[in-house]
Symmetry: C2
Subunit: 233 residues, 2 copies
Amino acid sequence: MLKYELVAQYIQQFIKENGFQAGDKLPNVESFKNKYEVSKSTVIKALEELEKNGIIFQTQGSGIYVRGNKRKGYMNLLISHGFKDEIENATVSYKVNKLEELIPSSNVREQLKLREDESVYFLERIIYVNKEILCKEISYFNKDIVLFLNKPIAEGSIFHYLENNLKVKIGFSDIYFQVDKLNEHEANILKLQEDDPCLRYEQIFYTTTGIPFDYSQLVYHYGNAQFYIPAHK
Amino acid sequence: MLKYELVAQYIQQFIKENGFQAGDKLPNVESFKNKYEVSKSTVIKALEELEKNGIIFQTQGSGIYVRGNKRKGYMNLLISHGFKDEIENATVSYKVNKLEELIPSSNVREQLKLREDESVYFLERIIYVNKEILCKEISYFNKDIVLFLNKPIAEGSIFHYLENNLKVKIGFSDIYFQVDKLNEHEANILKLQEDDPCLRYEQIFYTTTGIPFDYSQLVYHYGNAQFYIPAHK
C-alpha cells in the first residue's frame, strides 16, 4: 500500500471515529499533514482518493467537507477494478465458460496495441452477485503483462492475482457504455428474453505506465446491476 | 476561473503545442510549478483536473503521462454539468414541456433536504443533440439556490445561468443509474416503442458547500446516448 493510500485510510477512520456527518467541515490540509507527519502532497493525494470514493468533497478556498452516504447496492464505477471491491457485503462468484489463447480481431489488437502476430488470453465468464447473474464478460489479456492465466485463477478475482502474484501495477481505465437490446445468444446466457434491455459496457485497463493489458466487453443484466458515480465539477 | 483551472488549460495547451502523444512522459510537478510560477498544490490540483478529463494519467513515483484520445461522440460523465460541455462539436437544444412551482413528493424533499412546506421549481424538458432526441429530463430545483427560473432560461443551459447570473458555485454531484424498459408515456415522448430499452439516470447536484440544489431524473434514448468515464485505480 502506498503512503497516500494509508493516509486516506487514516482520514476515513478519523471521520468515522469522530462521528462527522454529511456537510460537516473537516480540518485543513496543514492539520492532517501535522497529524500524520507526512508531506502536503501526500495529504492532497489522499484527499483526492477520498473524493473519488465519494467520501469527502473539497472546495477551493473553502475547505474539506464530509459527503453523504451513497445508496446501498450500487457499484462505484470510479473505483472499479474487479467486482469484489465495488459492491459492499456482496458475494461475488465467477463461472468460466471459455479460456483459450487466440490471435484476436483487428479491433481487439487496436485496443490492446498489439502486433499482428501476437496472441492473447481470451476469457468468457458469467459473474454472479449473491447468486444472481450480474453480467456476461468477455476479456482479452495482453500476454506481455498477464503472463499466465488458467481456469482456477479465472474463477476468482483476476485483478487480485495480477496485483499480488504478477505484481502488475494497475493504473487507470477507459470505460465506454451504452444501452442496447439483447440478442438471442446473450438472452440465453443471462436467462432473459431476446430484445430485453442491457448495458453494453467496454473497459480498457492500463498499467501505471500506460500499457493496455485488458480489454473487456460486458453485457449487464438490466434487473441486477445498478451503478454509482461520485462526480465533481 | 480559478488559478488551478487556468494552469490546467496551460498544461493542456503545452501538450498540444509540443505534439505529445499517448504514453509520452510529461515534465514533473516541480517543473510546471516553476514554468507557471504557481504553488505546488496549484499544479497538483491542475493535474487532477486533467486526469478527470482523461487527458493525462499520473503514477506515484513514476511521473505524468499523456493519455490517448477518447472515442468521439461519447459524453464524459465526470465533467457532466450541462450537456454543452460534454459532447464536442454538437448542437444541443432544449424543449420545455412544463415549468411550475409545486410542493414536491417526500422522495424529492429528502434528496434536496427541504422542509415539508418548501416548494420547488419543477421542470420537464426534452434534450436534443444535433436534432436527435437525447433524453427526457425532469428536474426539481431548490429555490433557496435557484432563486428564479422561467421558460426562456430553461430553453438554454440552466447551469450556465446559475453560474454566471446567480453566481451559484457548483460543487459536485451523485449519479445513480440503471437500465430499464420504457413505459408507454416515455416511449411516446422519446418516439420509441413501449418496453424498448432505456437508461434511467438520477443526478443530485450540490453547491461547493454541500447544499443539494438540483435533483434530476433522466431517461436516455438508447440509440442516441453513449457514455465515457476516465476511471483510475
